[in-house]
């Protein structure tokens, strides 16, 4: 009996991990969105604009599903190939902090919106997909909110967030390339670092 239980337990945990690996990208987006919004709906601090609390929420619940290296590469564009591995690392770290803050700020302005998931058509063999959702708000037109995901070793990672057709990542291309043009990759790292420091000190 003991063995049977152990065996069953083993099978279930195997099944569990298999299910996690096989999770479709739209199911992943839906689960993460639902998890985060369930917390925000109950959290009066976040609703009243507590950015640092929202930051912690995003860091624990959302961050693991984002590929910041790829996001940064997309935002930097062709200058990315000129960066050393160490510069790439630092750029990604700074850009990650900035995007996490943007995302957290968006959460603190959450009020009565609901999210609907639009049917996405992709094949089982696809490794790049776009999951489409819509933010519905009373009295306004629905805002399309799409996520671009890439399959990496059996797991899906978000590499772009597109609000009303505006990519939060590629929208930085112009200002990033101007900065690299005038002050180089290190100038860009500096610019991002300065902004993050300024935002971190102002939110305290």
């Amino acid at each position: 009996m003991k063995y049977l239980l152990a065996w069953l337990f083993g099978v279930f945990s195997l099944l569990g991990s298999a299910v996690a690996l096989e999770r479709s990208p739209d199911a992943l987006v839906q689960q993460v969105t639902d998890d985060v919004l369930t917390i925000v709906r109950q959290d009066k601090d976040i609703q009243s604009g507590d950015t640092s609390k929202a930051l912690r929420l995003v860091e624990t619940k959302v961050l693991p599903y984002f590929d910041f290296q790829r996001m940064t590469a997309l935002a930097v564009g062709r200058n990315w190939s000129k960066a050393t591995p160490e510069q790439k690392q630092r750029l990604s770290e700074e850009f990650k902090n900035l995007l996490v803050r943007t995302y957290s700020n968006a959460l603190t302005s959450y009020k009565d919106q609901t999210i609907s998931y639009r049917p996405s058509n992709f094949e089982a063999a696809d490794t790049e997909v776009v999951v489409k959702t819509e933010v519905k708000q009373p009295g306004g037109k629905p805002i399309p909110l799409n996520y671009a995901l890439e399959k990496q070793g059996g797991e899906w990672k978000v590499y772009d967030v597109i609000v009303s057709g505006v990519s939060l990542v590629t929208n930085y291309r112009g200002s990033f390339s101007r900065e690299v043009h005038s002050s180089g990759i290190d100038g860009l790292i500096q610019m991002l670092g300065d902004r993050n420091k300024q935002l971190a000190s102002s939110s305290k």
């Binding site: 900035l98 700020n105 629905p142 009303s164 505006v166 929208n171 930085y172 200002s175 005038s182």
Partner: protein, 243 residues
């Protein structure tokens, strides 16, 4: 003796062209979509000033005073008026099904939805679309043209500036005969629209390194997406995608 007028005109044009070209050369990384960046940045500064001292405080007051059901009803009311224009534009773009659905929305919301205050049609599954003449022109193949930033109305490409003029000409709110009523309606609609952008203010303020270009780039991306009804062909070719 003065040179003939045509000669002077040519000389003048040459000088102007040289000035324009040298002007281009002094600005690094100029966006080809935004040839009048100097003018636009000046207008942007004017708008930011107006917004800070007048428009945003009024919108904030409205947002604080009006209860949510009132704001929802105001948004629905003006949305319902716009839906009729959306229907016409969907028809002009050859999207008959959408146009029909939009007409249905106006009929339902104007009656059952009590003059448009309630968006009953959305509850019934008739999706709200949003089209204007600029999108219709885009669908017909009219290119963007240079980007502009106008006082009050904000960012518009050249095509969308013409689109906006046609929109305003059609706009039932601007056609109200009673002038004080018309002005009040326009003001309430403008305030409600501005209030709906209040949450975005902080996000843009913190996310953007150069607010002017952040808004410009976002506007141009948004328009591209709107013209393709949310499915624009990918901009990422191998050339700018490699890393």
């Amino acid at each position: 003796m003065k040179p003939p007028f045509s000669r002077r005109l040519v000389a003048c044009a040459c000088a102007a062209t040289m000035l324009a070209v040298s002007g281009c050369a002094t600005v690094d990384h100029r966006d080809p979509a935004d040839p009048f960046e100097g003018f636009n940045r000046a207008m942007f500064a004017v708008n930011e000033g107006l917004d800070t001292v007048a428009i945003k405080p009024v919108a904030k007051g409205y947002d604080a005073v009006a209860p949510l059901p009132v704001k929802v009803a105001v948004g629905n009311f003006f949305g319902n008026i716009w839906d009729s224009w959306t229907a016409i534009n969907n028809l002009l773009q050859g999207k008959g099904g959408d146009a029909l659905s939009d007409v249905g929305r106006v009929l339902i919301n104007s009656t059952v939805g009590i003059g448009g205050a309630f968006d009953v049609a959305s509850e019934m599954g008739l999706t709200k679309h949003s089209e204007e003449f600029g999108q219709t022109l885009g669908k017909w193949g009219v290119p963007d043209g240079p980007y502009f930033y106008w006082p009050f109305i904000g960012p518009r490409t050249t095509r969308d500036t013409f689109g906006w003029l046609v929109d305003t000409y059609y706009d039932p709110v601007w056609r109200v005969d009673n002038v004080p009523l018309r002005n009040s309606l326009v003001a309430v609609r403008y305030t409600d629209l501005r209030a709906s952008f209040l949450p975005a203010d902080k996000i843009i303020e913190e996310a953007a390194f150069d607010k002017y270009s952040y808004i410009r780039d976002a506007y141009l991306q948004n328009r591209r997406s709107a013209i393709f009804d949310g499915n624009p062909p990918s901009l990422f070719t191998e050339d700018n995608y490699d890393y």
